[in-house]
Symmetry: C2
Subunit: 339 residues, 2 copies
DNA sequence: AGTAGCCGTGGGAACGCTCCCACTCCCGGG
DNA sequence: CCCGGGAGTGGGAGCGTTCCCACGGCTACT
């Protein structure tokens, strides 16, 4: 294997080989405007021959852009890494950034480093920030924006926020699920809701209520229990529901894991699914395919969420408008055998 | 809120404010050698007052170092993102890199981009490469090294590789599990092994065989079945084992998920765990805490793996020796109620 | 026939840093 | 009393780009 020359070729060398000036070579590589075909061809040949790649540091120095985007995951959310949904989001982000020729700088911000994180972000290295967050009480996005750095948040921090976020349309998704249950002729449609202090919890509940009304079903408080998105809380919630109203014939669970718990309780109670009780989840997690029976659930596309986050960030960077409206991503119902 | 000055302060401004030369200011920020206390203090005050942060691009341009490290996850492994173990590894890497003041550039390399990945890595942006891989048939690490870039692989590609990797000591871990079962007086110790073409599969099986011999237990081929690390394959494997030898009184599963499957089969077959059959897993996945009964398993520390990967990479970068020996990380047995 | 304007071009300047050389002190030894 | 040398310092050069200005040649007007 031939030893490559120790130093990387520079633009100057490319220009020399192509027999043009540095400026022309630069123009070929970038804008491309106002270059004769002959010169362009010569430069492109030289680039290929030398295996030239622009030096990112030199470019960043003069343009004051790094072509890098930070993905910040706060420590409290680090566990999301282990969740398939967020893994999918990260993948979507990675793919979208790669297509846009941007680098993804991953920052796992622990609490200690919180101060220097801001310092780092605002004064260095990246052109924009992607934030993955579940909690609502965070002023970090606005603080970063205050320093002139574009920010897009994945998962709307709270319902009051109208700009700079991408989230799944939880209200619409929950509506889909409930409308489906009503369509199936179910009359006593219960819900195992999520925590009301999380957007995913409150919005899905909101969608449940709306769709119930739209379908002319009465809203009955006794058919509402709250879980914490865990399997156990789903099982417990289902027991409560059966106790309160043995005639319940459908239940919409705010996520799949709670639906799995509900399924267990129903089996233990000798109820057939879907004959006696129909069950619908939310998330379309991998587990929903392997439950018994396979779970009908609201599908949300993590990849799309990642891609949309990047798209919105690039838009923000391009327009300079820090307050671009956020987007809600549509969901769709995946009907399996539990309903 | 006062508007920050449009341009970031430069080293020159810091030096001017401190009343010293650019060289002295630079010396304070970096090496620190040969600077009088008076000058150092003045520069540090000026830095604090101006909120100065060195421009990374300018620094990279002259030092030819970026202080960034790439973490490459090949598409075929992208799913690992959703697995708690790998999420932990990434976390460990992130933490270790942050302490070393290095940036983590995440590259999700899909197959299409495979060529340009190498191009990108070798000619740009990063000082070293971390590779997360499960498959053995990959020449990528060596190709990258051929370009003079340090590489550390997480998860040994295959048993022949002696350098530049960090892995869990699978043989030792499996030995721990089997020795424990032998200690408990079990005589017919079976195993549900993993795929033989994966290091985790073959090494854990190797450890099983070794420990069996060390404990004076006969190796019986009928007590060996192979799974694919999935829950279903564990359940199936256990059925096969019970069929072949109803007197089996212990089973070592090459991962926790298969152990969960085995547990299900045993319950369905009316065997008590651990009274009739003891079960041990590998991984200490979150699920192992919530099985019935809670699973005894081999604990491997993902955080340690990430940190060790970074440590080895930094060592490689510092010494310039591309062929530093790899390391096997010790495991320990977590005894719960299934054995 | 002269000139205004455009296209395509070359190269100086600047980006902000580190490296390194040269310079000034000042101390101690011959 | 002179001189060698170390400690501390200032600032020039250079890293590889992009930006921008000035320039030459050509076309198409007046």
């Amino acid at each position: 294997m031939a030893r490559r020359p120790r130093t990387r070729p520079t633009l100057e060398e490319v220009a020399a080989l192509a027999g043009v000036g540095r400026g022309t070579a630069s123009r070929v590589i970038n804008g491309g405007a106002k270059v004769s075909d002959r010169a362009r061809q010569a430069v492109e040949d030289a680039i290929a021959e030398l295996g030239y790649v622009p030096n990112a540091a030199a470019r960043a120095l003069v343009t004051r852009r790094t072509d890098a985007v930070a993905l910040v995951i706060a420590e409290s959310e680090e566990r999301v890494f282990g969740e398939p949904f967020f893994a999918g989001v990260v993948r979507g982000i990675g793919a979208a950034l790669a297509s846009a020729d941007r680098q993804l700088v991953l920052i796992l911000a622990d609490a200690r480093r919180r101060g220097s994180l801001e310092h780092y972000l605002t004064r260095q290295h990246v052109d924009g920030v992607l934030l993955l967050s579940l909690h609502g009480d965070d002023t970090l996005p606005d603080r970063i924006r205050g320093h002139g750095l574009p920010v897009v948040v994945g998962g709307r921090p709270n319902a009051g926020v109208k700009t700079g976020f991408i989230d799944v349309d939880n209200v619409q998704g929950a509506g889909l699920a409930v409308a489906h249950l009503a369509d199936r002729g179910r009359t006593r449609i219960a819900t195992i809701a999520g925590p009301s202090d999380m957007v995913a919890g409150s919005s899905r509940f909101e969608g449940y209520v709306e769709a119930l009304t739209a379908a002319d079903r009465p809203f009955d408080e006794r058919l509402v229990v709250r879980g914490d998105f865990s399997l156990e809380s789903g099982a417990r919630g289902m027991r409560t529901l059966l106790q309160r109203d043995p005639a319940v014939d459908a239940v919409f669970c705010a996520n799949d894991l709670m639906a799995v718990g509900a399924l267990q309780t129903l089996r233990d109670a000798g109820r057939r699914v879907p004959e006696d009780v129909a069950v619908v989840g939310f998330e379309d997690a991998p587990v929903s395919r392997s439950t018994v029976p396979p779970l009908t659930t609201v599908h949300q596309s993590p990849g799309a969420m990642g891609r949309e986050m990047v798209a919105l960030l690039l838009d923000t960077m391009a327009t300079g408008d820090m307050l671009l409206p956020g987007r809600m991503l549509p969901t769709r119902l995946v009907v399996r055998q539990s309903s």
